[in-house]
Amino acid sequence: MDNYHYHTQVPGEPIAKANTGWIWKGFFILLVVTAIEVGFAFLNDAGHGETRFLSLEFQKWFFIALTLVKAYYIVFSFMHLGHEKFSFKLTISLTMILIVYFIILMMIEGYALRDVKLLQPDFFKRTYKEHHVTPAGGEHHDAH
């Protein structure tokens, strides 16, 4: 039907030996990158009142960069896109890289919106009566 030819098995022919080295290599890369991400999130904790080792800004972009590394290995190695024709690789990966760029752009947009919002006066004024109702049973909860 098309010029894509399947390799067919001749009955009785012995099954070829497994070639899985590249698969485990990809797994270890993914594992190490994830471990670095989680370890970084752990160690770069602000704690209570202490400053971080590396700024929160840096941490966020570091995580995005590592995620793109993982995405590359999943798509190009596990999904075999690396073995396909160059034009097909472009079709898939260029689309997705542009999408990732869109995510990053909108994150920056979100930051801008936050800064604008802080400059505005508080127009969420409470217009209802400020009459506090004690909880049923009259129990007094300690606010932790």
């Binding site: 989680v38 995580f63 596990f78 919106l113 009459h131 606010a143």
Partner: protein
């Protein structure tokens, strides 16, 4: 217009040629995955914008919300979700091994690796269910929140967990996005597990021997890797950033 070209020797516009030299089924699966990636990107883009729009004291910090580990009382931040990520990556690896065994027509190995992939998928779904349960039922102490009750008066109530109306963690959008994104992804994992089970039964029944190739396993493998890829992004944007 070319007349009666033979079926085996096609030309580009006359048909009979596989674009990019990829078979029809695989190409269509790739196109579907790209369109599904657009859907998830839309969700993640809106989450990223919302999250950055909120100030840091209003939006809850995921590592403070998700720090429970099942069957223990331990409070280790991000531990359980890292385990979930590891399980999904592991099931992706077993899927690649199944596809590779399919290329060599090693039926027993395909069955073994597909079974492990299905197991990993069920494990992940169970873990996600546990995360949701714990997120909805909340922490031990809950939180005091001021709400407006039915009479229009301000009332301070003790809130436990999260639902679609109120939650103890902070911004309501956090809970909404969490439920939608992880729920949508969980649906994809569930359908992926079902597809894997279909592939598994087909291999056992000898369908792949009949057609002479293991391409169905390969296509389901593409879908499963996509599910893993989306989880990598959700894990980063939701839990880490």
């Amino acid at each position: 217009m070319a007349e009666s070209t033979s079926v085996t020797k096609g030309n580009v516009w006359g048909g009979g040629v596989a674009p990019f030299n990829v078979s029809y089924g695989k190409l269509m699966m790739w196109f579907f995955l790209v369109s599904d990636a657009f859907t998830f990107s839309g969700l993640l883009i809106s989450y990223g914008t919302m999250r950055n729009k909120a100030t840091n004291d209003y939006w809850p910090s995921p590592d403070e919300v998700f720090n429970h580990f099942p069957f223990t009382d331990a409070h280790i931040k991000l531990a359980f979700v890292s385990l979930m990520t590891f399980i999904l990556i592991m099931s992706s690896v077993t899927m690649v091994l199944a596809v590779e065994a399919g290329h060599r027509f090693d039926k027993k190995a395909v069955i073994k690796w597909l079974a492990l992939t299905i197991l990993g998928g069920f494990f992940f779904l169970g873990s996600q269910v546990w995360e949701w349960y714990h997120f909805i039922t909340g922490t031990h102490d809950g939180k005091l929140v001021e709400v407006i009750n039915a009479q229009g008066l301000v009332e301070t109530i003790q809130v436990f967990g999260a639902n679609m109306h109120i939650n103890e963690y902070g911004a309501q959008q956090f809970a909404n996005f969490f439920f939608f994104i992880t729920g949508f992804h969980g649906t994809h994992v569930a359908s992926g597990v079902i597809l894997n089970i279909i592939a598994f039964i087909r291999v056992i029944n000898g369908y792949n021997d009949r057609v002479g190739h293991y391409e169905f396993v390969e296509k389901v493998g593409l879908y499963w890797h996509f599910v893993d890829l989306v989880w990598v992004f959700v894990f980063t944007f939701f839990y880490l950033i």
